[in-house]
């Protein structure tokens, strides 16, 4: 190993360290703001390290936790149920498509593929869910639209047809196993990597979704955590006006000088919302990276 490569390696490592910092600093900033004192923020702006440390934002946030808790519940329910149903639906559609011997399979493939190319647009799509299915303000409308993505059907189909030897299926059939048994006892266990990939993506899609809450939910209750964060970003009052936290603080403070920590409260909401993802991230990112490469290389 010569000197040249050593310096170039140091440079490369330096670049990546810097870039990694760039990825983390914004999160750190939000985190730090949420732990800052509101008056110091108003006077001097956001800092990477709190000038005056304060837990007030969290204090206020936890005063009325009900909507946050409720939205957490919605998000978790939607994510879990949606992911399970979604992976099932995707696998059910992908497996027959992977069977070379199935008549009309190209028709079915085209049927799903075409949806990647053309769509009716927002307006009719919205009307189908609201008028025809009457799902407005229902938790199911947060689940159904994201159930199946054509892309993952194609990825899964490719995996099934390329990674599961036809000979295994053939011999199972000769042994008298039915289609369902073959699918559940042979195909699925052999396909765990691709199932996990689809499940991870699906989890991410559901957890990060705010759009469906935005257009389908009007009662301000059945909203996902992300949408709650969105509303809080636009209007800190969304958290406080419903719960009268503001007045509670003012009465606790004695006079009418109200000290609602608007800016820090906003960021505290962001921390509470993003916390689980960041905390869980170190544990599942390995699988995710693995899954991504399964999808990409084989797909």
């Amino acid at each position: 190993m010569n000197k040249g490569t050593k310096t170039s390696r140091a440079i490369i490592n330096g670049i990546f360290t810097l870039y990694s910092l760039l990825c983390i600093i914004p999160l750190l900033l939000v985190f730090s703001i949420s732990f800052s004192d509101e008056t110091s923020i108003v006077a001097n702006g956001y800092k990477l390290i709190p000038e005056v440390f304060s837990l007030k934002a969290y204090d206020v946030l936890f005063k009325d936790f009900s909507q946050i808790l409720y939205s957490y519940g919605i998000s978790i329910f939607v994510t879990v149920v949606g992911t399970i149903l979604g992976v099932m639906l995707t696998a059910f559609y992908a497996y027959p498509l992977s069977r070379q011997d199935l008549p009309y399979r190209n028709g079915f493939a085209f049927f799903i593929f075409f949806t990647m190319l053309f769509g009716g647009g927002l307006v009719p799509w919205y009307l189908v869910y609201v008028n025809l299915l009457d799902l407005k303000n229902s938790v199911w409308v947060l689940i159904i639209p994201l159930l199946m993505s054509p892309f993952f059907v194609l990825v899964m189909r490719t995996f099934f047809s390329s990674s599961i030897p036809a000979s295994i299926l053939e011999s199972a059939r000769i042994d008298g196993a039915g289609e369902l048994k073959i699918f559940s006892k042979i195909v699925l266990p052999l396909s765990l990597p691709v199932l996990a990939t689809v499940a991870l993506f699906s989890t991410l899609n559901y957890w990060n979704d705010w759009y469906l809450s935005m257009i389908f939910i009007s009662d301000n209750k059945t909203i996902s955590l992300q949408y709650l964060m969105y509303r809080t970003l636009l209007d800190i009052q969304f958290l406080t006006s419903n719960s009268n936290v503001a007045s509670q603080i003012s009465s606790a403070g004695g006079g009418n000088i109200l000290d609602l920590p608007n800016k820090t409260l906003q960021m505290a909401m962001a921390v509470v919302g993003v916390g689980p993802i960041v905390l869980a991230y170190p544990f599942f990112q390995r699988y995710f990276i693995k899954g991504l490469t399964v999808g990409a290389v084989k797909g």
Partner: protein, 523 residues
């Protein structure tokens, strides 16, 4: 191709299924439509052709749930109030009520969604500044003249005819105006406690520009408090407080001067008033008097004021406005009026309850509106909650209320503060901080109002619907930033003007002029 052939049967099957689903959906919406048509024709028949034959009410059928949507903060105890109201309504008109308040910031979106999806709804708040004429042009609301005759007799009896005349579109009414002050002025609500703290004198303020020294003091001494709060597109910026008669719908361009006799419809961007005010807003913004997120914030000033971080904001004024708002804002307020009281079509239709096209029983909806206008108990129940729980009547008084002693004064569970939206204000109780002569002052105020030359004229936007949509898109891009003072007006106004021209503003103004001239000629 071979592949395609093999999948033909499948495709054929799919097409067949489509047509089945589609025809299914088509016919079901057909039915709905027929049903609603039947409903309305029934009412119309009943009243128009043979007034004798009452609509065949199924008197003891299932009670009908009337949904009421208005912009405002959702209230915690709304279910309790509903339960109380239902007891009363079931007995009176065999109906129940579902009250839905939607935050102001969300109102436009949610209302559009509700209307376009044809979701069942009955009573919807609307106003000249809330796309009233646009929604009427789209057919979102039912014409209510016949319904008023059949089920809204008390409204006709109590309401100053100027309200109903003023809010007509092409001779028809589409909303029942709130019975409240008829004249309108604009001005600001100011935190009294901060005025006192810095010994500021509000009597020195005669024009918008006179507010500046007050704002300066607050800016310098109260970090964290916004001296002059405004939010995006809620009509609370300086530019939205010019002395215009918008001729029925403030969301449609083309204005005339409220005061005077001039009836030439103008593009407000051409006026010196617009320019001067935009520059004032710019100055204030740069000085930090106006909140920096004014162009993007959706938070209604009143909501923001509840946090205690706002010194002053604009609003429509009337006698006792400050005390009325104080109850829901939670801080002592005082008002400064900055324009003279005038009466325009927009003021007569400044707050209305309309009946939605999707209502299944419009006649019951009208009965509920009628009760809001005539039934003191019901009106105050919806506006103030349950007696003994959300308020108590003052000893000896039949009209003055206060917060119950055992209730947490700072944690009000039902206090919508939306009396001006719902029914008849002259029926409302008064909080104990309000002027007991408020209603007399209202009447006096109404009589002082200067009538706009175009009073009674309401623009029919149907012929230029698309241009209005295009203009509104342009407005969204320019108006909030200009109003907030976040951009330099000198270059921005001409850019704005160019875009408006290409969106067809001239056509709208010409159409407005044509309709106005026809109206004036007929008068």
């Amino acid at each position: 191709m071979i592949r395609l052939k093999r999948s033909l049967p499948l495709l054929a099957a799919v097409v067949l299924m489509f047509s089945m689903v589609l025809s299914g959906c088509g016919s079901s919406s057909n039915n709905e439509k027929n049903a609603s048509e039947k409903n309305t024709t029934k009412v119309q028949n009943a009243t128009k052709e043979e007034p004798k034959e009452e609509p065949k009410e199924e008197p003891k059928g299932d009670p009908y749930e009337v949904t009421l949507y208005y912009p405002g903060t959702p209230q915690k105890d709304v279910a309790l109030v509903e339960a109380e109201a239902n007891k009363y309504l079931l007995e009176k008109i065999n109906a129940t009520i579902k009250i839905s308040a939607i935050d102001f910031g969300q109102w436009d979106n949610k209302l559009n969604l509700m209307i376009s999806s044809g979701e069942k709804s009955d009573i919807i708040f609307t106003a000249a500044w809330q796309n009233y004429t646009v929604n009427v042009a789209k057919g979102a609301f039912l014409p209510i003249n016949d319904l008023l005759e059949s089920n809204g007799q008390d409204i006709l009896k109590n309401l100053d005819p100027a309200f109903l005349d003023g809010s007509k579109i092409e001779g028809k009414n589409y909303g029942v105006p709130t019975n409240k002050e008829l004249a309108a002025t604009r001005g600001v609500l100011v935190r009294q406690d901060l005025l006192d703290k810095y010994k500021l004198d509000k009597s020195t303020v005669k024009t918008w520009a006179d507010l500046e020294p007050l704002l300066k003091v607050i800016k310098e001494n109260e970090p964290g408090v916004t001296p002059f709060y405004m939010s995006n597109s809620n009509g609370n910026g300086l530019l939205e407080n010019l002395d215009w008669d918008y001729l029925g719908d403030a969301s449609v361009p083309g204005v005339i001067k409220k005061v005077g006799t001039e009836t030439k419809v103008m593009n407000e961007l051409d006026t010196p008033e617009f320019k001067a005010t935009a520059e004032l807003a710019r100055k204030w913004y740069k000085a930090g008097y106006i909140n920096s997120d004014a162009a993007t914030s959706n938070v209604f000033p009143k909501e923001q004021a509840k946090t205690g971080k706002v010194f002053m904001w604009t609003d429509g004024m009337k006698p006792g406005k400050d005390k009325e708002e104080e109850a829901s804002v939670g801080f002592p307020l005082t008002q400064i009026e900055l324009t003279q009281p005038t009466i325009t079509t927009g003021d007569t239709s400044g707050a209305m309850l309309a009946i939605s096209r999707s209502s299944e029983k419009p006649e019951v909806a009208m009965q509920v509106i009628n009760l809001l206008h005539s039934d003191k108990f019901f009106n105050n129940l919806v506006n103030f909650g349950i007696e003994g729980k959300h308020y108590v009547l003052k000893d000896g008084a039949d009209n003055v209320i206060s917060i119950p002693a055992d209730a947490d004064a700072n944690n009000r569970t039902y206090n919508p503060g939306a009396q001006w939206e719902l029914g008849n204000q002259f029926l409302n109780y008064l909080w104990d901080n309000e002027d007991p002569n408020k209603w007399d002052k209202f009447k006096e105020f109404n009589s002082k109002g200067i009538k706009s030359p175009a009073l009674g004229f309401s623009f029919n936007s149907e012929p230029v619907k698309n241009e209005i949509a295009a203009v509104n898109n342009v407005n969204k891009q320019f108006k909030p930033a200009l109003t907030a003072g976040a951009v330099d007006p000198t270059e921005m106004i001409s850019k704005y003007q160019d875009k408006l021209k290409s969106a067809g503003i001239d056509k709208i103004i010409a159409e407005k002029q044509k309709q106005l001239d026809a109206f004036l000629a007929a008068k």
